[in-house]
Symmetry: C2
Subunit: 237 residues, 2 copies
DNA sequence: CTGGCAGCGATACAGTGTATTGAACGATAC
DNA sequence: GTATCGTTCAATACACTGTATCGCTGCCAG
């Protein structure tokens, strides 16, 4: 008994010449999806679909989803241009801080993944290398303290900035507008008089360019380091 | 036709006097679960199960899971003791920084939620109020810049510290041990000679008490602020 | 032509947040 | 005392996640 309707099978069962895949291609696709729609758009099914593949196919190139995320982070580290090696520590660190900030603005999801787990990819290591190298004190411990402090500030500041951008986007309002006009809740709370300083800030504070805010904070940090390491107070002392 | 086996229904269909619930109780339970096993243990089903309830019952008290997370964060803010209002700005900010750090060590998940979305709960607002109030410069803009900088540093530093603790716990090794002995990967990479400073740090760096590292960085930041606002350089100028 | 093999798809499973549905209860109206 | 109503909860269902397993398919070695 010959089976009927053999001629309109859903697809010719022969392979439809699957797109060739590679780690790099998968990572690039995932980054594009994340840039467009945030980390929520990076699921193995969605990434695979964007590559005309089934979800399981990715496991031939990637151990686990976390590994994919690590690769994405390392890829972004690769976008960060190292400072001029001849630069002094201050301009070098400032350069790196700005690089991180602008990378995070290009890829907002970057900051969601940054502190999450230690990163040991090649680009990440190169980034750490050039960052440590630009600080020229002799004591390696001091170098680490300085770099760690600047990086902690950069990371926290960028995270705050991105969070604010997202809140504005999702509410369609500027933070300033939001704070002034936001649902009756904040108004009511402030009207209780229990938060006088906060109220003063919200009503009277002028809101600067985020880049300026970032730079001012960075200046505080760098100035503090310079003060503690000024000529005369030898490093290591 | 009488139904057979009516007597051994899975449960007497009358209500087994369900535990009375409340927002506060739900939040407390969720925090306990998170403290014990991280945010992964906070799913609506697990929280509900810990309260002998079905998952959907929580929705009578909570709009969405994100709201639960917000409530958890606000609860932790409530644990932070405000600084002595008579303290000068420097000791006040230092106090708050330490409070945040110790709260994050008690509740490691705290840092995962911190920068995620704006927090407007009552405890969070009270925390912001007392933080802003402790900085006594006259220009509200300057206060904001100072507080924002310190908080960015604190947030980034705490996050790094918690991340390191987690990595150590999951590998069973100290970061130092890990770096020195870790799988051949790091060794091999360092052996390429492309990361001389990094190698020097890993091999020669002495690893301090995390609390000391935190304080040193905090001192950098506070010192920088003090320098820029030293008597003579009037605030607002 | 026949076997193994490698790569890939389909299926399956346990878990998630949440919408919908329906059943049981207490209180209220007659 | 009975009927109805509204509230409160549990059960079910849905779309989605990451991933283990399995079985098919086409290619290459013999």
């Amino acid at each position: 008994m010959t089976n009927e309707l053999v001629w309109d099978r859903p697809e010719p069962p022969s392979r439809p010449s699957p797109t060739p895949l590679s780690r790099a291609l998968i990572v690039r696709t995932a980054i594009e999806l994340a840039d467009a729609g945030g980390l929520d758009e990076v699921s193995l099914r969605k990434v695979a679909a964007a590559l005309n593949a089934g979800p399981m196919r990715l496991y031939g190139y990637i151990e686990t989803k976390d590994e994919l995320l690590d690769l994405m982070v390392d890829e972004i580290y690769g976008e960060i241009r190292p400072p001029d090696p001849s630069a002094d520590w201050r301009t070098g660190l400032r350069h790196i801080a700005h690089e991180i900030r602008s990378a995070a603005k290009r890829h907002e999801w970057f900051v969601d993944l940054l502190g999450g787990r230690p990163n040991r990819g090649p680009n990440s290591l190169a980034y750490m290398e050039s960052t440590l190298a630009v600080v020229g004190f002799e004591s390696i411990d001091e170098v680490m303290g300085v770099v760690g402090t600047v990086m902690a500030y950069v990371y926290g500041a960028v995270r705050n900035e991105i969070t604010e951008i997202r809140a504005e986007r999702s509410s369609g309002l500027t933070e300033e507008q939001w704070q002034r006009a936001s649902g009756p809740y904040i108004e009511r709370v402030l009207a209780t008089g229990r938060y006088p300083t906060l109220a003063r800030f919200i009503y009277d504070g002028s809101h600067f360019d985020p880049a300026q805010v970032f730079d001012r904070g960075l200046d505080y940090v760098l100035e503090g380091i310079a003060t503690k390491h000024s000529p005369g107070s030898k490093p290591g002392g």
